[in-house]
Symmetry: C2
Subunit: 203 residues, 2 copies
């Protein structure tokens, strides 16, 4: 009998309500876990200074993006503030097939689209230490009308209720601590019995 | 909405075939993870020099041990080489109720008894890098007749087939690496959504 790790890499989804700090956690994670591959999103928004195609994003025209949707080239996609954003399927699938783990930093809505296609993925939900803390973070982002603020808080509350669809919950109290939890989750997932291939050779 | 860690500690079972090095891994783990509580077995064997009651083991007479079995005071028990060994229930239950994690280092047979009573436990199976390696470790333990050696190898092979009843498989190639995997598993299990208590208070 022999124990082999499964050959395919892990698909790791990091999500959570807006304002929870997904971007900050994932930036730190890139430094702390350079051995992971990070998915690059496709977008129709214009490149900002310093942004390079294929590094920050895959920059697409609207017709190009719509063609990607039609041809099922995106694992998930959504429209934000007039621009399209999505996760190209091929890069994710090639990375997994090569045995490497890939991280997707995406919105809650997109994460649920990914779960339908990759139920074996590792779904991590970042949460604020408390709802009050999330409220403060959203307020601190900038001056908003009270109506808009309430709408955002309601949306965040709805998103928090998606927690049950995730495998893990990581409290984003301190960024380094959140990264350590994610590292532990990735390591533990590689040891899960249901991810191992067992062969019966007695050698 | 608020996310609370579950109040009860984790019951962590470390098991694996004889010869895999459970004792070595758990000794190192005590140094590396002193924050965990380690279960103390009850036994009818005589104390060796330096062994203290309630530290190394709970030392019992045979009638005392049999009474513990009758009164369902043991989570699991077995007889080895003429002596009884078992895991007292009260110490485990009190530790878990106080919110602390407890580690049980036990044989495969005992681990399956524990699983019936604590299905929510974290069951970790230590495996050798290969069956050949396990064979060498058993041979190196001392001079054995070929018949006895074959019997032991057969038993180890049967035990390896229990792997499917465990949540995690950790390869005991290097002791420090095995301990790091166990640390990651404990940390990740504390983040599992199905172990969290969620309340709907918006504060």
């Amino acid at each position: 009998m022999k124990v082999n790790s499964v050959n395919e890499g892990l698909l790791i989804v990091i999500s959570g309500p807006s304002g929870v700090g997904k971007g900050t956690v994932c930036s730190r994670l890139r430094q702390k876990m350079p051995e992971l591959t990070y998915s690059i999103s496709a977008t129709t928004r214009a490149p900002r200074e310093g942004e390079m195609d294929g590094v920050s994003y895959f920059f697409k025209t609207v017709p190009e993006f719509k063609k990607m949707i039609e041809e099922d080239q995106l694992i998930e996609w959504a429209q934000y503030v007039g621009n399209y954003y999505g996760t190209p399927r091929r890069f994710v699938e090639n990375t997994l097939a090569s045995g490497q783990d890939i991280v997707l930093e995406i919105e809650v809505q997109g994460a649920m689209q990914v779960k339908e296609k990759f139920p074996q993925g590792v779904f991590i939900f970042l949460v604020p230490p408390s709802f009050e803390e999330l409220r403060q973070r959203i307020i601190n982002r900038g001056t908003e009308t009270e109506a808009l603020l309430n709408k955002r808080l309601e949306a965040a509350s709805d998103e928090l209720n998606q927690i049950k669809n995730y495998n893990y919950v990581v409290i984003n109290d301190e960024v380094d601590k959140a990264c350590e939890c994610i590292r532990a989750i990735v390591m533990a997932e590689h040891c899960r019995t249901d991810r191992l291939k067992l062969s019966d050779q007695n050698s």
